[in-house]
């Protein structure tokens, strides 16, 4: 019930207490991906261990897309974020920020004002915004170990 055709953008958090099968799972998970304000992600709390079913479903779905769309399908593989991907994102943010002075706000501001290239600027903005969102996300989920390794890496 209510897994299909239910569209409420303000729904951003989903609690799953049973394993949902195949396309119903995708339907259910995508209840939270409507665009709403500044949210870039929807959030799912899993009580039922949907991971294996999810991997299977997303694999099937991906194969189907690949058959239908060919190489286009690659763009759709990034629908959901796992912890490993978050780690990767953090790595990328650190790479981008590496050449800047992040321990001194004044120094950082001077460096930023020297950027003339739009592409570099865009990349930096994207990395910083992403960093902010991931920071909130990690704090929210209470995974402080990631946060600590992140800070010590900076």
């Amino acid at each position: 019930m209510l897994l299909t055709g239910f569209d409420a953008p303000r729904l951003k958090k989903l609690y799953v207490t049973r394993v949902i099968k195949a396309h119903n799972l995708l339907q259910a998970l995508t209840r939270v991906n409507r665009s709403y304000k500044d949210f870039r992600y929807g959030y799912v709390v899993d009580f039922a261990d949907i991971q294996s079913e999810f991997d299977k479903t997303i694999g099937d779905y991906f194969d189907e897309l690949q058959r239908e769309l060919g190489s286009e399908a690659e763009h759709y593989s990034q629908l959901f974020k796992t912890k490993e991907e978050i780690d990767q994102d953090i790595q990328h943010i650190q790479d981008v920020l590496f050449q800047y002075n992040t321990s001194n706000a004044e120094g950082f501001s001077q460096q930023v004002s020297q950027i003339n290239d739009q592409k570099t600027m865009l990349e930096l903005t994207k990395a910083l915004n992403n960093a902010k969102e991931l920071y909130n996300l990690i704090r929210l989920s209470g995974q402080y170990d990631i946060l600590e390794s992140w800070i010590s890496g900076c």
Partner: protein
Amino acid sequence: MLKYIVSDFEKFRLTTGDSSIGAMVICDSSEQAEKLKEVFDYTYADTSDKEVESNLAADPLMPYNAKMAAQNKVTSAALILHDAGTKLEREDLIEDFKHGKVDLLFV
């Protein structure tokens, strides 16, 4: 589980700084959904008018954290099952949820 869900959701609203977001609980069975709704109504539901509550939240004398807590509080839930209520009642509840009058849905 309900205690976890409610406190997690309130924390989520606080962290995202947005008290307008809603949540949905996909239950294992209709019995579980009914029970959760029953416990929710007994423990968390605030039957007082939303109007009164928003006046309270706007009170400048209230400390900031208390104000935020009041704003983010999860106070209403609805039960949506095929066999509960009439089609019309369910549609009303869904509309209420979309417009932000209901915080939590049990389905």
